[in-house]
């Protein structure tokens, strides 16, 4: 009886352990099954490098280059804004701030993480968008820049909290040693502590970027969703995620459009997979 119980519990834990992998594989297979069907209508280069996205025309134009570039541009913009601020914030919290300010900052950042993305999108729409329009004298404020700024807000909590953990786990002796050798506080931070925590900070950045690429609601509300190839960050763009979210409801199950949206999903999956594997490789390289 006891053996049976032991056996059952063991198997149950095994199942739970395998479940996550199992579901990922299932999701990926489903994506592949539905998405690859689009290549009956278009060739892969036409799909990936086609410049126009008119999915419901006859015949449909299913080129996702503007969407890929739109996603990359928003992500890049968000990364450029959130990484310096996020890492600097983490350094301040972990190394510089007095205890009281530290507590306030940390809970503030947790609060930022708790704001739902649709609310951020809405706030961006009524505040940031008119603001960007008037500052840059643009015909419309619904631009990649607006999306990038709002997404930077979303990436920041992830970057700050993980980077801060990484900085915190650097052994105190490193810092003490550096200070004992006559380094100033800033020298100790940027010559000793930051390099020692770099793998953790890199992971923080990657996770932040991963969050940005997958974000949908806020970008759909404030980037304008025009499927043009962007030439500057002050233009409207349409991202991969917003395309899926906006069009999935319409796509008739089994149509080219439906398959194309799944194929867009595969592209997104591959991009975030590359980001994650990149982060992983970087981490392991550091460890050796």
């Amino acid at each position: 009886m006891r053996k049976l119980k032991e056996f059952l519990i063991e198997k149950l834990i095994l199942f739970c352990g395998l479940a996550s992998i199992f579901f990922v594989v299932l999701i990926f297979l489903f994506l592949l099954k539905e998405g690859l069907a689009v290549f009956k209508t278009v060739t892969p280069p036409q799909f990936l490098f086609g410049k126009s996205w008119y999915p419901i025309s006859e015949p449909p134009h299913l080129g996702i280059l503007p969407l890929i570039l739109g996603s990359l541009m928003v992500t890049l913009g968000a990364a450029l804004i959130s990484i310096p601020i996020g890492v600097a914030c983490a350094v301040y919290i972990a190394e510089v701030a007095p205890l009281k300010i530290k507590e306030i900052l940390k809970s503030g950042i947790e609060l930022l993480a708790a704001i739902p993305s649709v609310v951020l999108g809405f706030i961006g729409m009524v505040t940031l968008v008119p603001w960007i329009k008037s500052i840059f004298h643009l015909p419309t404020g619904l631009t990649a820049l607006s999306g990038a700024v709002m997404l930077a807000f979303m990436a920041m909590p992830t970057i700050v909290s993980i980077a801060e953990d990484a900085l915190y786990s650097v052994p105190k002796t490193y810092k003490e040693g550096a200070l004992a050798l006559g380094a100033t506080h800033w020298q100790a931070i940027h010559r000793v502590i930051l390099p020692a925590a770099s793998s953790g900070i890199m992971a923080a950045v990657m996770l932040g970027i991963g969050r940005v690429i997958g974000e949908t609601m806020a970008v759909m509300m404030i980037t304008g969703n025009a499927a043009v190839i962007p030439h500057s960050i002050l233009q409207p763009v349409r991202t991969l995620t917003a395309t899926i979210a906006a069009e999935m409801g319409e796509a008739v199950v089994g149509s080219e459009h439906y398959f194309a949206l799944f194929a867009v999903g595969i592209v997104l999956f591959v991009i975030s997979f590359i980001v994650n594997v990149g982060a992983d490789l970087f981490l392991h390289k550091k460890e050796q």
């Binding site: 969703n225 499927a227 906006a246």
Partner: protein
Amino acid sequence: MKSLILSLFFLACFSTQSSAAVNKSVRIKGSDTMVNLAQSWAEKYMEIKPEVFLAVTGGGSGTGFSSLISGTCEIAMSSREIKEKEIALAEKRGIHPCEIKVALDGLAVVVNPQNPVGKLTMEQLAGIFTGAIRNWKELGGDDEKIVLLSREVNSGTHVYFKEHVLRRGNPQGTEEFAPSALLLSSSQAIADEIAQNQGAIGYYGMGYVCAKQKAVLVARDAKSPYEAPTIDNVISGRYPISRPLFFYLNGSPQGMLKDFIDYCLSADGQEIVVKTDFVPYKR
């Protein structure tokens, strides 16, 4: 283990479906344009027949059709006719779409009230939305870039505007919205952007126009008179951008569904059409 999860999943699906049938509930889904109208109909109808529950949701005409085809709604609302392709897909799944015209709608072309341009021909509209005309200067307005606002592709309004304004009703037409057109997810989003952007132009059902936007007068061609999107002009057909609104069902309406649709088409029902700023199909 796998089969256990699958069976649990199916059990969950079936149990929700059967309970819905017991409560006499009808799911109505589709065109965002028609949500307010159908909601008003549903509320009044449920006052008369409290035992019936009508759930109205939006999402766009295409969403309505795909739900009808996949069996997740009983009535699909649509602001465009069903496509051949959609009929074929429906038949494949044993669904026979039946079309019922329930009301008319005029599409208003709207600009910011500050914009001096107040009337346009259909040809100019096609030029604007395909990207051939890019500056308000060319239309006698200020020297300002035109910002195009359109609904997302899942919207019947988007499809109707493309087919009847951009392509001038020519089924072989290949005109498309300029890629620079901003695709916004709701009529309200277009209305908000128009209200704060002097260079913007957009379109939506005439029920959405308020003081913060200006509806442009539209002429069929350069020789015709410019007409405003009003109820009288839509009924008489003088206003060029108007369209029928439909309900689609699986097979001809029967029982409870027939009763509800009869109510929508009755004098009371058509009065609600007028109240929600649409145009009655019958007078």
